[in-house]
């Protein structure tokens, strides 16, 4: 899958140049969308790490994403104490994670005294308090309701190995580096460079979380999800385990928020701290597979692709422009019902209603694919994909 992600920009470019150009552009998500998929997917994975593995729904998870985002935005504007605007992004990234983890420790130590729906509600409460606070805190910017844009530095944020110039690249849609002539034949646009740089950070975070999930610690979390009373009775201090998982989850959510600002260079209370940010994470976790860790990334990929496909986007592809351009005029003018032409029908049903169809898809997923994309695939293949796919391929070749 890592390989599939790595090859995607090349394949996309290749197909977009081919004879199928319009179809490809209409159906496949753009690279820019995939960058969002990566960092929001990381956030959704961090949400799944706590909610899918311990069974405690962290409805206020946006607080950690927002914290990470604001730490980077404020840091780059020179508003954090003792840190100038020239602070390297890699340091801000870690700081964002640590700040979110500290916040998680504070919120978690209170919230884990409760369980079930009360836990979900109290974390939601905390995140909404922070949302309102950030919205009205004029320290962050002169118009806190509109959020913070990075103005302290005009250069792109650099991701890479600290201290090695050759291994650092700047990210961002406008400010990022472009690379030409890598290995002689690879040319990358700033968005593609951002895609790989952010992808590398997300991969490292995923591997770290993966490690945690398969450790004895992770097994204990699963035991807590399965039966917390018994986990306590066999000697686990479940409070400490839940809190530890919450702190780790908050750390990675903070990293995701930091990558978000690194790429977009601005954050508002609405797309950082608002509870629907956590709602989106829940949605893609369920689509992708709850308690599978990687599933939420696929869920986010699916969700973003569908949204983009159904949304009206100027030159960016999608269903609506495709239909307008490729369905014959005679068909478009055909009257369907009571003066409604096909063209008008397309417009009425598709224009701006992506969220409606995503909502319907979500309902279908909960009803018919309760284990999510990855969960169902694992059930069918009887094991994780990494193990099952080679096994299947071998069997296929053996006849």
């Amino acid at each position: 899958m890592v390989l599939a992600f790595a090859l995607y920009p090349g394949v996309y470019a290749l197909l977009a140049d081919s004879g199928l150009s319009t179809e490809v552009v209409a159906v496949l998500p753009r690279i820019e969308t995939l960058v969002v998929v990566l960092f929001f997917g990381l956030f959704a994975m961090s949400f799944d790490f706590i909610s899918g593995y311990t069974g405690y729904l962290s409805f206020g998870h946006a607080a950690f994403y927002g914290t990470g985002a604001y730490v980077v935005a404020l840091g780059a504007n020179g508003k954090l104490p003792a840190l100038g605007p020239e602070t390297p992004f890699m340091l801000l990234l870690v700081l964002a994670g640590v700040a979110a983890a500290v916040l998680a420790l504070a919120i978690g130590s209170v919230s884990f005294r409760l369980s079930g729906v009360y836990f979900a509600m109290i974390t939601l409460g905390f995140s909404q308090v922070l949302y309102v606070f950030v919205r009205d805190w004029d320290f962050v910017s002169s118009a806190p309701r509109d959020g913070v844009a990075v103005t302290g530095t005009l250069e792109g944020f650099r991701i890479g190995v600290p201290g090695v110039d050759g291994l650092n690249v700047a990210i961002g849609q406008l400010t990022g580096d472009s690379i030409e002539g890598l290995f002689g034949f690879i040319n990358l646009s700033p968005t593609e460079v951002s895609f790989y740089a952010i992808g590398a950070v997300v991969l490292v975070c995923y591997l770290a979380m993966q490690r945690l999930v398969h450790s004895p610690f992770g097994r204990t979390l699963i035991a807590i999800r399965e039966n917390e009373e018994r986990a306590r009775a066999i000697g686990y201090n479940t409070y400490a385990y839940k809190l530890g998982a919450f702190v780790a989850s908050g750390f990675f959510a903070g990293i995701a928020g930091a990558l978000f600002v690194g790429f977009r260079r601005s954050v508002t209370p609405e797309n950082g701290f608002y509870f629907l940010v956590a709602g989106d994470a829940l949605l893609v976790s369920i689509i992708g597979g709850f308690g599978t860790l990687a599933g939420p990334l696929y869920g986010e990929l699916f969700d973003a692709s569908v949204r983009e496909f159904l949304s009206k986007e100027g030159g960016g592809g999608g269903l609506l422009p495709y239909l307008r351009a490729n369905v014959g005029d005679a068909t478009l003018a055909t009257e369907l019902y009571n003066g409604l032409t096909v063209a008008e029908a397309i417009d009425t049903f598709l224009n701006g209603h992506a969220a409606l169809y995503v909502g319907l898809l979500f309902v279908l997923f909960v009803l018919y694919v309760p284990n999510g994309l990855l969960g169902t695939a694992r059930d069918r293949m009887d094991g994780t994909l990494a193990k099952a796919v080679p096994r299947r391929v071998r069997r296929w070749f053996d006849g």
Binding site: R211, S215, A223, R230, A231, R232, A233, G235, A240, G244
Partner: protein
């Protein structure tokens, strides 16, 4: 091994456990019997820290083999003074995980395992708790083979080794009862509290569970709650009878059986081996419901 003095639990106006002085020796199998609602499960919950007693104390004298710090969990000890000069440690009001890490484990009247985990993982995660490795977050759990080996040894003992890879929820009721005991065993306990391991088990499978009880009693102190008087008479070294929260008899099985107060409160004319008399059928229906307070 384990003793209580004046242990009392009141729920509002109801006294579920009433001034119980009880002691369990390190090498005995003691049965706790009494009618439904006598307070047996509440008594278990008091011993394991699930409930906090209204009055009285619970004390534990852990075996020589159990070293301080073996529990592996930070903050697991109830007091830094540890065991007193006589070796008794007050565990009144300790958290369930602290009691467990001090060597007191229990099984439940209603099967209470990790349903979607495999049979092996159920036992392995309990062994891992006892080994103090739960907080280990870097190693791969599959590489810590000592716990896997230990889990297989325990599955052998409870006769489930051939079903190790099945999810616990797929087991039959009888097998779940065996797993229930297996999970308790995997915590490497000194004291094992078994709450009706035979609850709802069909008469054909009872023998297997009885063998298991007798087997674990060879190397653990066991406190057994049981409704089937034939089993109680067969396996117990000592029988304690609870009625309305209070101890009304505490003696050898035969003496308890002939005690008029016990006959009146619970046994109702029980004769050994008479499977179809009133008391036995009473007992078997009783074992199917969980109608005890709390």
């Amino acid at each position: 091994m384990l003793r209580t003095s004046g242990l009392t639990k009141r729920f509002g106006g109801l006294t579920a456990v009433d001034d119980v002085d009880f002691a369990l020796e390190s090498d005995e199998l003691c049965s706790l019997i009494g009618p439904n609602g006598a307070g047996k499960t509440t008594f278990f919950n008091l011993l394991t820290g699930v409930l906090e007693p209204t009055e009285g104390s619970v004390e534990l004298r852990t075996g020589a083999g159990r070293v301080e710090g073996d529990d592996g969990e930070g903050g697991a000890s109830t007091g830094d003074d540890g065991n007193g000069a006589d070796g008794w440690r007050d565990i009144t009001g300790a958290e369930p995980h602290e009691v467990a890490s001090l060597g007191v484990h229990r099984s439940y009247q209603v099967t209470n395992v990790f349903p979607n985990s495999t049979v092996l993982e159920n036992v392995r995660v309990a062994a891992q708790a006892a080994g103090g490795d739960g907080m280990n977050f870097w190693r791969n759990a599959g590489q810590l083979e000592e716990y896997i080996e230990e889990a297989y040894a325990i599955l052998d003992r409870v006769d489930l080794a051939d079903r190790a890879d099945e999810p616990a929820s797929a087991l039959s009721h009888g097998a779940k009862r065996q797993l229930e005991v297996g999970v308790a065993l995997a915590g490497d306990p000194d004291v094992l509290l078994l709450d009706e391991p035979n609850a709802g088990v069909s008469s054909e499978s009872v023998d297997r569970v009885v063998d298991l009880i007798e087997d674990v009693a060879t190397d653990h102190a066991v406190l057994l709650v049981e409704h089937n008087m034939d089993i109680v008479m067969e396996v117990s070294d000592r029988v304690v009878v609870l009625n309305q929260g209070a101890v009304i008899a505490d003696d050898e099985p035969a003496a308890v059986r002939d005690d008029p107060a016990v006959q009146r409160a619970y046994l109702g004319g029980y004769e050994p081996g008479s499977a179809d008399d009133g008391a036995s059928s009473d007992a078997s229906t009783g074992s199917n419901d969980g109608g005890e307070p709390a």
